[in-house]
């Protein structure tokens, strides 16, 4: 995407290795993880079953975010109805109690779902640092095929173990079909 001016003028962002299929990516991800790299990611056009284990990732925390919002939706929804119908504006409807809990179930349920869904989507954005309108990976010409049929491992320079020669040599041994430096 960006013009390749003089390579030496630019700072390296990451080392990007390309693989042909999910099996090779999986194998490489295991090796990278075992070698001790931490600031790396395995990019693929679709999620690959078992990749979390291969990369040594911990379970996503999203469930807890959603649960907390579900509880807020539940208690907030119920409180709103009880407060509105028995304190703020009590109105006798067919002689039923003002705080008629069974009748409040549907709205409480809907508000629980609504807040949980917002938490699931925006919590996922938050955990994924989205929206992210610039990513140095997009400077790589090849990387545009990550949403089509190519598989990549990217090791960032920020990783403590990163060194241009060592990392490149290491990635060559993982079955990559192409390796390139990605500039900021």
């Amino acid at each position: 995407m960006s013009d390749q001016v003089k390579e030496t003028d630019k700072t390296v962002f990451a080392m990007l290795a390309e693989y042909d299929n999910p099996a090779k990516l999986m194998k490489a991800a295991k090796l990278v993880n075992r070698a001790g790299y931490t600031k790396f990611d395995a990019h693929s056009p679709f999620p690959i079953h078992g990749m979390d284990g291969a990369m040594g990732l911990k379970e996503s925390k999203l469930g807890w975010i959603v649960l907390s919002h579900a509880l807020v939706g539940f208690s907030g929804g119920l409180a709103l109805q009880v407060w509105a119908s028995s304190i703020a504006y009590p109105i006798n409807i067919g002689g039923r109690p003002f705080a008629n809990i069974p009748a409040y179930v549907p709205v409480t349920f809907e508000l629980t779902i609504l807040l949980s869904a917002f938490a699931a989507v925006f919590g996922m954005f938050f955990l994924n640092n989205l929206p992210k309108l610039h990513n140095s990976l997009f400077n790589s010409e090849n990387f545009s095929r990550v949403t089509d049929d190519k598989f990549f491992i990217c090791i960032e320079t920020e990783d403590g173990m990163f060194s241009e020669e060592e990392t490149q040599k290491f990635l060559e041994g993982t079955g990559a079909s192409h390796i390139e430096k990605v500039y900021e």
């Binding site: 395995a42 693929s44 509105a84 779902i113 869904a117 989507v121 954005f125 992210k132 309108l133």
Partner: protein, 475 residues
Amino acid sequence: MSSNSGYVKEAPLVKGNHTFSSITALVADIVEKPTPFWWYIAFGVSNMLMGLLFLMLGYLIWEGTGVWGLNNTVAWGWAIINFVWWVGIGHAGTLISAVLFLFRQGWRTAINRFAEAMTIFAVMCAGIFPAVHVGRIWVIYWVFPLPNQMQMWPNFQSPLLWDVFAVSTYFTVSLLFWYVGLIPDLATLRDRVKSKLGAKLYGAFALGWTGGNRQWQHYEKAYMLLAGLATPLVLSVHTIVSFDFAVSIIPGWHTTIFPPYFVAGAIFSGFAMVMTLMIIARKIYGLQDIMTIDHIEKMNIIILVTGWMVGFAYIMEFFIAWYSGVEYEKFAFVNRATGPYAWAYWIMMSCNVIAPNFFWFKKMRRSITVSFILSIVVNIGMWFERFVITVTSLAQDFLPGSWAYYSPTWVDVLTYVGTFGLFFTNFLLFLRFLPMIAIAEVKMVMPQADPHYYDEDGNEPVKETEQVNEPNTNN
């Protein structure tokens, strides 16, 4: 997913010798190709119908609900029928995307995007009716619990208010679910489209997606949670819609079978609508390799099953009316089948209970023509079901002195026709500008997506040998 487990070899979900990139090309390039001529024609017609809808709504708001065919006895007419019908159609989208996802039905990937889009547009059409039905649309905000100068609050014990929450939550969650599913495919379009503006726009909506596994991890979790949330939601929405009727004391409405019966009916009509749209789209866009005849067959089986659930409910309602010993209840049902609206009742019965039985035969289930015709028949039948429920119960209730016959006016009819304009305008825009098939998800159910498909060195197996699926020993 399901394609790799079990003892019995399943038919491949994607037909033809496709690679990942040919799937991308098949779906994503539809957006890139020049717009076909028929699209402009269809879009023009839809736009005119949508204009008609706005005209009718304007006339209604200007004149008041008197322009509809409602009378003192029958206060709910076409508007409510159309509302329930459109909401019901929407439910198949959520069912396909959420329920089938939780059941790990890999075949949903071919149709879920499509069906979810249908859901959103159908709910938009549905939402119009109750909103304008309130009569004074300019105070519609009274249905929301907003602090106001009158210091009044909505009545939270009313099913009509539950409906407000149910339908608006349903619309919001469906939209979120659809959008989350779209993100990876929007990224595909971002990386493919040639125009700079296109790349910018798709890129903005793709939010900077890079397909990293650290993203996929949370993404899959979010998708799973959304499916888990949308499943009870879709059941609750049509349950609450049925409460609009069931919580009243009108004979023919006041029955406990309504919630499950309404949900089954919604799925029934929704699948029929997905079928109608899908048969047209797969033909026009040449997507027969992804939306295969196997998909059509599976959907026809669901139509058959839910059709019989609905048929069971019709029969059970009759039985309970007799068994309850309540005069009014008995009369309401006998009157449905033999009274002034018997014609509507028998249209409903023949379209919903008799017609789907063709699908007992494999030949019929796998015939495109039969599927297409029956899908339309089912949608007609389901419209009449709502007509029968809404109108017959009201027209002849307790006091013969207040009985009346209800007929729609031209405004009723044209408003309904106009909603098709709104629906198809949106749907055509969707077909034109967004990937109509979930590209990433279809790739996921291909055999090549499984790392175990490859040999030990990570190369493609040399020959396309018949893969014998081994029993899943992991559980």
